[in-house]
Amino acid sequence: MTVTGPSPETMLEMQRRMLRIRVFDERASKMVKRGQIPGTVHTSIGQEAQVVGACMALRKGDHITGNHRSHGHPIGMDSPLGPLMAELVGKATGVCKGKGGSLHLADASVGSLGESGVTGSSIPIAVGAGLSAMVLGENRVAMCFFGDGAANQGVLYESMNLASTWKLPVIFLCENNHYALSTPSHTVTAGRIVDRASGFGMPGVRVENGQNIMDVYTAVAEAVDRARRGEGPTLVEVMTYRFREHSEGLRINVDYRDAAEKAIWLARDPVVMFRDVLIAQGHATAATMDQMEADVAQEVEDCANFALQSPDPAPGVAFEDLYTEPYTLENVL
């Protein structure tokens, strides 16, 4: 069976989610600069097609795990923005009560099991979600997002081998944005990541133009479909690019990405490109797109205000959730 293309409604929703990531991350970046968000954030700006194309191939009940480049994944699953932004700001209304922050988000309401600040570390968690699906006979799929840098961590190959031998419904989604922090992928990665799949008995698919959301969606939907049929995991490598620095506020004075390369990729803006597609295919007009962008801008405006106006977590919240039973200060002091 092949996957039928997405409906116009789905395509419009894709654009909406890409916009939500774009505007949310742009706002988060500003809020870091203004000191409204403590620490730092890693934006998915430029990678929206790769994120949303993958997430839209999933359905309610499926699970995802992710990494430090974290907001895009839950937003791609349609997380409400308010609790996410409140989490970045460290407020009581944050999706993790202000205890996780940007790098360590989870939103159970959309199947997000957790973004891991430790790269690669959340990969086997998704394998476990696949295991429980199989053992409990629940027809769900688990997808883990990780970068080209994390693709050099051994746990990925242990996880691929385990998922493959057990034929678990898991998608290994490699976000290849060509760099791990300041390190060019080709200088630390032997061979092509996608080619590592076959040695572990699973198909490997590479989306060469990860800026084109339809390409990403089609490839991932095929993999998800395969997983649901009980045929096991797939490795999907999506070629993309981050438009901004590794993390907000980070200053690396070495030009590790050359200007020409940057220019080429910046011209491939997934949000702009797909807007044109939607209009060209008659699914939208400039006016409806402008409206959508205005709506998203308003939504992000609201979530930022919600976050900034929310109260700080009460001091005692720091001492909750270490264990399932209540844990009093007396225990820890």
Binding site: T65, K99, G100, G114, I125, L131, V155, E158, T324
Partner: protein, 332 residues
Amino acid sequence: MSIMTYIAAIGAAQREAMVADKRVIIIGEDVESNVYGTTGESKQRAESGDFVHQFGHARVRNTPISEEAMVGAAIGAAMTGLRPIVDLSYSSFMYMAMDQLVNQAAKNRYMFGGQSSIPVVFRSAMFYGLNTGAHHSDRPYPMFMTVPGLKVIAPGSASDAKGLLRTAVDCDDPVLIFEAVPLWGQKEEVQDDEYWIPFGQARIRREGTDVTVVAISGAVPLAMKAAEQMEAKGISVEVIDPRTLVPLDIKSIIASVRRTGRLVITEPAARTCGAAAEISALVCEAAFDALKAPIKRVTALDMQVPFSPALEPQIYPTTERIVAAIQAVCAA
């Protein structure tokens, strides 16, 4: 009641837990063939006693030698509906999965504001004193005591092993259970029916009035022997096994020290930053006024484990060293 070995009690608890709750699964290397003796009545696959036959391959699963993925998958499975028991065999292999144990098992629930719980049990066996060499003889439980979010238990007898393992499987938090292989063969009266021993309740193995000996895991029988020898010398020794180290029943230990005024702590782990150090520090903080003598530790030396039988016994606590410590604190 029946007389049962420690390892048989572990097997019994696993079987009871598998019967009681379909969400419980066992994963690990060579669990299907029952290599380590806790997933079958005997090692005879043919027998009905075998876990694979009783529960099926879906719930009793051999894994590749991939500790990190195995542990991570167990955590993910626990976050999504299963209650896995992971057999890590030797404790010395846990380091392969350290990131998953420390960064995922211990932190996820907390970091995510309680959105998930992680009901998973990690079993490992401390094969020390058996000439298995430094790669197979670690007693690393203190390392895990330093990690908030993990529960760490170390049963000292067969009946404790059965009741504590049942509690561990029913616990909604990650539990690490450390089994001392020198105890595997030790027998004790064990209830045949199901029972659960709550965490954080020490077991007074022997009452006494002159000195308190806190003994952990494989050091418990040594402490009991030492106590008998001292009795002959007219010194009354109270032996307490905390049984669970996180949470730790410090109240019972302090209450005992307030009665006796003297404390010796013995454990098979190395000295530096061990459980004995923590207990010593807690007692010194909370019961300093009651102390009549310095607190003494009788632990393994801060040394790796040599293979030769001519060397290895020097590393661990012995009844003799415990006796000497008791005499020293009683002389003070």
